[in-house]
Symmetry: D4
Subunit: 180 residues, 8 copies
């Protein structure tokens, strides 16, 4: 690797994520940082995925997993990183709760699927994969509302990240019409 | 203690908190559990304390602490339990971050001040003081908006819970007019 | 307290749990400890609550919570102590995940409701409440199959343990006919 | 590495594990995800390694270790990831408990030996080695019954993963005839 | 309680443990603190329970548990507090590993059975029960050699601490003749 | 207990600590909270116990322990709560590192000996003993300089808190002349 | 890579940091290790960032973040590694607290910006990136006083480390004139 | 890398450590695994570094650090992995306690210096660097007695692993004559 390329990569390790910033750049006014000083509104309204929607996602994801004969765990976390739902499927391995949780966490943190994000992580030097709580294997999908990520859905347990992601997407599809 | 009283206390350990439930019972419709099944809205709007308001609270609390010549730490957590702000004052003891954090956590969890809540904890048998992350010493104050707790302010470091609470209240007062 | 009574309590702190031991004493042969030495079967069949049943319980519990206008979290753990399901309701406090988890853990550990178990915990000296991961507030209910606890359902968030328990029982009732 | 190859690897990071999925694909009907909705059986029977078998495995492994003059620790975890047995041999290093535990956890999670699994982990980009609790050094062996992994045996302490695995296999051999 | 008694208890909270200090007072010379300054021997010989003895204890304890139809976990820790052996019996509850571990830790820390030690813990004010890692329920038994505790055996899972202790003692008895 | 007394205790749980606040009230100007707004000095000078003094304290404490034939661990933490020194004596129990660390932490947090502080902790309701990281058994002694606590010395392992404290005081005495 | 180069890198993994050692080599006499034995001063004066300065830094950083339309978290840790300030901005992701904290920790640990330090971490073999608590993505900046690092400012949440660092530098600039 | 070489590396990841196994192969009879079954001695004598020797090592290491004008932390752990001594030098960074601890842990675990061990860790695929608690930067040195590692000395804080190791070796040298 040439010196100048390396330098540029170090300086802007996450520059590949600029698209995401763009995607969510048009965020709702009420969530924007207060720019007018201390007289600003003290309470900002934030969209949160409902428990009912979380159940619907998990149910649909599990149905897809059954169809694909996969034994998986589904985890949904909200934008604060706290668990909204955990559902460990029949026969899912002991590693699946944590892998699903981290995929969900990663997706809601960066606002993109973990499979996309993983393409930018090469193992050569520092990367966002070093941030605690993250996991860049396929299977994590963000839930967006009004241009901002409000939750993450993570699935773990299938033998390939592609399948995990398909299951997560099936879950997300079940509520797609109800996310403004 | 008579047997029947004891039984009643065990059965309803938290009954002393009914007032709180009432206080926040008239919560906004958009945060209510979906009762009409899966066709309900998938996103609920939730009030969150702004970072600007958090800074304002911390600043005012620290000014009050300076006035009272106390060395304290201020912690503000949101309704998900995540830290919004931590500010360790000059000379504050090493135990103050965690004590302030837990007071804030407890206040936002139960929607009342920790000093009030502490009156119901007697040390004789199971109580809400056994719930992880809580602390029932004075100094924790809830921040409410539209009838629901949205954040907790915790202060630790003064030699009495009364003083810690006064400092937290001074902080809260600085944004009171801006909480709908 | 007289010396002899105290001594007896210390010696047999958990003697109040003898009823439970009786209740589950007639456990199925396949789960009994091998008494005939090393030629015994290497694999024992163990009943595990299905993911589908866990979802059914959570769904029913949440409906009951909505009916009672309570904001709660439901957690179901299996007999190994691992989470089977976590569902945080809309507006449930940040303390509810851990309190529900511990109630579920306690119920499946001792095979009785946490409200019953809590009656034996007085705060005077060592007790089972000192065991890590437990919580003896009302709201934890064991799920039994063939005379043995196979899972625990825990609910946290209502202002009284009685209500939490009623919600958990409503969940359990939804699968009662399907537990042999 | 060419772009298209890289993309394929990212998309299907775990595709090398497809063989495993096949190996355990013919899992017993009672552990399959419920496909017929909520009327399905609420309890599924699951095979669990008996404590007696765990002791037999540990004893045989330790005898093999003594024969090979190795100082090791043996850990056996069940399919929920919980420890079934830990035995630290005389003079085994302080790192051996955790390394053996993680090898056992990894083997039961993915249903293959850690030495096989490790061949697919190259350090270039995200991989299953990023999942918490795993370790891909030789010495972890799955215990299977009726086509599904029910436990993992992990050995740590020998100067090579080959030797650790041989010791684990010697342990497993002692109960091989008793696993249906 | 009278003031003076209270004061004395506070000042010498652990004075009830003086007997223990006596019991192990005649400790072997090689483990004594160096009193002659820096020219003393840099290596002290310390007795450690062998892995073989640990297995023998666990095996005998499990046989006793089977005889008493109890489902328990046995944990043995050495004088450094590290686990030497963990064996979770068939059907033992999820709380038993940690309760057994803490009983073993407590017994080897203070050189007495946890049932004896528990008599001195009343819940009124600070006590040794506040030290992390300890548990003062019956079922923990120290293993002594040449007048000093070298290991602790802990049993958890029976409905009474008396039974847990009897099982631990049965294990200890199996190696009693081999402890000098 | 009468209602009004109870109320007063709840309101001012830590009021017994007022003496301490007084003792350290005349703290040096450079550590005082900035009262004049944001133009204040950005760096405050803080006294820290030197590593050399920590070694001297530990050495003297260990010599006293040897004289009293006690097997103890000495821990010194600084005002930030971080460990400055840990020294585990020959034959000291596995619980001593953590008990000594917490005593040291408690002493530097509140600026008084743990034996004094423990007198105010009765086990009836919330108290400072609920703050994480603290331990109120005798053996913790603060190190003060210019009227403020700069470190804590904790000793654990003797059969009585009195003896632990005497050993800690012997250590402190060795540097007393060098603390301004 | 040639053998000799590899050897040199292993032997002196951190040699790239020599510049830093030089930069801070002329540290103030009062913080230097005691070279004259045990008669040295027992208390060393250490510069600590004031709470007021921490608030000023956070405020300025947040204003810069608003200007750049970034949603970030700011964390300031002192030289002991303890948090001095945490401020989570409106809409900042759940990963930002920990990433900002680790960047701050890394900057104050090594006395250089994380972007500079990251250039020396290549992912090929052991490096300082393996030290717990560190993170080598851009956004961490040391605060120095009298030639020594006294605090670290970390920012996380922007799509590039460059932007995070610019925000941190804007914060630092606000107190630059007040650091001697 | 050719396929066959890769396979061999995976199969025998730690084979480079065979020399160590040889070095400590002639371990004392009393620490050898019992080969003659259950009648073997239940207590094995194990050499442990004395507290006095630990203090001597730390003192000498700190003197060497002062001579080299380095600000370091020294940690000594015993063969069970438990801390024997921690001494944080004046001005040592917050990362040094954990880095020194892990170097000491690694050295006593594998019986070689961390600088030697680090040469075998390349970052390409699974390696012993994945074992929890380890760190393969220079500065960790084993303490051996009668052919077996009984403790590890770790130093952290110098800008190069070479210097850290030289300081650790200077400490070890101070007791070399007293290790049989």
């Amino acid at each position: 690797m040439t010196g100048s390329l390396r330098t540029r990569l170090i300086a802007g390790t996450l520059s590949g994520l600029a698209v995401m910033a763009g995607a969510f750049g048009a965020a709702p006014a009420e969530a924007a940082p207060a720019e007018n000083g201390r007289a600003a509104q003290a309470v900002v309204q934030t969209g949160v995925l409902s428990a009912d929607a979380a159940l619907t996602i998990a149910d649909a994801a599990m149905k897809e997993a059954a169809k694909q004969k996969q034994r998986v765990t589904v985890v949904i976390v909200d934008r604060s990183g706290a668990a909204r739902l955990v559902l460990k499927g029949d026969g899912a391995g002991p590693q699946t709760e944590e892998s699903a949780r981290r995929k969900a966490f990663t997706a809601v943190s960066f606002g993109r699927t973990t499979s996309e994000l993983g393409k930018g992580v090469t193992g050569g030097g520092p990367s966002i994969a070093d941030i605690p709580g993250t996991l860049f294997l396929g299977g994590g999908v963000p839930v967006a509302s009004e241009g901002a990520p409000i939750a993450g859905v993570g699935v773990g347990g299938a033998p390939s990240g592609d399948i995990d992601e398909a299951i997560a997407q099936a879950g997300l599809k079940a509520v797609a019409g109800r996310l403004r």
